[in-house]
C-alpha cells in the first residue's frame, strides 16, 4: 500500500507546536522539589508525542533530539532522578530549539542542527550516555513472543555470479516462521537487455517469527556486500494470545505498487511489467505479492529455460 504521509504533516506540526507551548508553560511553573507527578507526566507526554510523530513521518533530526529529552523526563517521571533547575533550563532551551527546527521543516527548509547538537551533548553528559550513542535497542528475548520483521532484500545485479541463490535464502527465511513475500519486478529491463545471469528481482518480506533479528541476518551473512538488506522489527504478538493468527498467506492476491524508495529508471517499467509472466493481469503495476511456492516454481521454470 502506498500512502502519502505528507498529508499528515500539517496536523503533526500543529500539534507539535501546541505540545511545545504546553511543555514551556509547565516547565516555567515547575519549582524543583515541589513538582507533582502529573506535571512531569504532561511534559513527558508532549515530548513523547513529538518524538513518535517525527519518527513516523520521517523527521529524524527532531526524533533523535527529542529522544534525549524524553529519556531524561522518563527518569524523572520514574523517580530515578530529581528534577533540578539545570534540567529545567536545559529543557526550556530545547523547547526553543525544537520550535526553530519544526519551523524550518514546516516551510521545507533544511533545519540548522548546530544548537540541537550542542544541547544533545549536554543531555547525554547529564544522562551519562556515551556521546552520540543511541540508547540500545532491546536485545533480550526471554519471553517467547512472535515478532513481525520487515525485511527488504535487494540483490545487486551480480549476485548470481557470487554463487548465491536468493531462492535458498527465501526458503531459509520461510523456515524461521510465517513468511509473506512481495517480489518487485520494476528493475527487469527490456527483453533485449535481459541477461539470464543477472538478478533483476528484489523482495520485501514480512516474517512472523519467534527467532530474533540475528537469526535473520545470518541468512544473508554471505551476501551482505552483494545486496542491500534491511531488517526492521515492526511488531509482535504474545505467544499465548495468537488466536486467529494461524492463517498462512500463500495466495497471490494483492497487487502492490513499488515502494516509494525504489528509484528505478522509469522508462522500462511498463514494458518490464508486461514481460514479467506473473504481472500479466495488471501490466500497469510494478510489483506483485505472491506466495513463495509460486516464486519457487517461477524460478524453476526460468532455470529450465536457461538450461534448455
Amino acid at each position: 500500500m502506498s500512502i502519502d504521509l505528507s498529508q499528515f504533516f500539517e496536523v503533526f506540526f500543529e500539534e507539535s507546536f501546541e505540545g511545545l507551548d504546553i511543555m514551556e508553560t509547565e516547565l516555567l511553573n515547575l519549582v524543583p522539589g515541589e513538582e507533582d507527578l502529573e506535571t512531569i507526566n504532561t511534559i513527558f507526554r508532549a515530548a513523547h508525542s513529538i518524538k513518535g510523530g517525527s519518527a513516523t513521518f520521517g523527521f529524524n533530526s527532531i526524533a533523535n533530539f527529542t529522544h534525549v529529552l524524553e529519556t531524561l523526563l522518563d527518569q524523572i517521571r520514574e523517580g530515578e532522578r530529581n528534577i533540578t533547575s539545570e534540567h529545567i533550563n536545559l529543557l526550556l532551551k530545547s523547547v526553543d530549539c525544537l520550535r526553530a527546527l519544526l519551523s524550518s521543516l514546516k516551510v521545507q527548509e533544511e533545519p540548522d542542527l548546530a544548537q540541537a547538537d550542542t544541547l544533545r551533548e549536554q543531555f547525554e553528559k547529564l544522562l551519562g550516555m556515551p556521546a552520540g550513542e543511541e540508547q540500545g535497542e532491546e536485545t533480550h528475548h526471554e519471553q517467547v513472543i512472535v515478532n513481525t520483521y520487515q525485511i527488504d532484500f535487494k540483490p545487486h545485479f551480480h549476485l548470481f555470479k557470487t554463487g548465491n541463490e536468493p531462492l535458498f535464502m527465501i526458503s531459509e527465511l520461510a523456515e524461521l516462521g510465517e513468511l509473506e513475500v512481495q517480489a518487485f519486478t520494476d528493475a527487469i529491463p527490456d527483453i533485449k537487455e535481459l541477461t539470464s545471469d543477472e538478478c533483476f528481482l528484489y523482495w520485501r518480506f514480512f516474517l512472523n517469527t519467534e527467532r530474533d533479528e540475528q537469526a535473520i541476518k545470518e541468512i544473508f551473512e554471505w551476501v551482505e556486500d552483494d545486496a542491500d538488506i534491511k531488517v526492521e522489527l515492526c511488531g509482535g504478538l504474545f505467544n499465548d494470545a495468537k488466536a486467529g493468527s494461524e492463517e498462512v498467506i500463500n495466495e497471490p492476491a494483492v497487487v502492490e505498487e513499488a515502494p516509494k524508495t525504489a528509484e528505478q529508471p522509469k522508462a522500462n517499467k511498463a514494458k518490464a511489467a508486461a514481460n514479467a509472466p506473473s504481472a500479466k493481469a495488471a501490466p500497469e503495476s510494478t510489483s506483485i505479492r505472491v506466495g513463495i511456492d509460486k516464486v519457487d516454481s517461477l524460478i524453476n521454470m526460468v532455470g529450465e529455460l536457461v538450461i534448455g
Binding site: E15, G52, G53, G235, F238, A243
Partner: protein, 120 residues
C-alpha cells in the same frame, strides 16, 4: 466490514492509523484517550482495538485491562503501539491482556502486516 477502534492522543498519528486502516478496507472509529475509547467501546462493538500507551486521562495499558475485563472484549485482539525500547511496557501490556504490539515508529505497511495477524 471489520470494525477497529484506533486510540491515540496525537491527532496526526490517529489520522495516519485511521487513514491506513480505512484504505485497507476497515471501518475505523477514533478515540483520543483511554477513557474516551472505553466509553465508545462499551457502546459499540469492535473487532480489534489499536491503542497508544502514553495518553492523558487513561493510558493504553489501563484501557487494555479495562477492555479485557468486559465480556464483549474477552477474545478481541487488543494491540498496543509502543516504542521499541519499551520492553517493560510490553510485559505490562501482556499482563493487562494485550494480544500484541506494534513498534513505533511504523509505516502503513508495517501496521497492516501486524494487524492482519489477528484480523482479516
Amino acid at each position: 466490514m471489520k470494525r477497529i477502534l484506533a486510540v491515540d492522543d496525537s491527532a496526526s498519528m490517529r489520522q495516519m492509523v485511521s487513514f491506513t486502516l480505512k484504505t485497507a478496507g476497515f471501518d475505523v472509529t477514533e478515540a483520543k484517550d483511554g477513557s474516551e475509547a472505553l466509553a465508545i467501546a462499551k457502546q459499540q462493538g469492535f473487532d480489534a482495538v489499536i491503542s497508544d500507551v502514553n495518553m492523558p486521562i487513561m493510558d493504553g495499558i489501563t484501557l487494555i485491562r479495562e477492555l479485557r475485563g468486559l465480556p464483549d472484549y474477552k477474545f478481541t485482539p487488543l494491540l498496543m503501539l509502543t516504542t521499541e525500547s519499551g520492553m517493560d511496557k510490553k510485559v505490562e501490556g501482556k499482563a493487562a491482556g494485550a494480544t500484541g504490539w506494534i513498534v513505533k515508529p511504523f509505516n502503513p505497511d508495517q501496521l497492516l502486516a501486524v494487524l492482519k495477524k489477528v484480523i482479516r
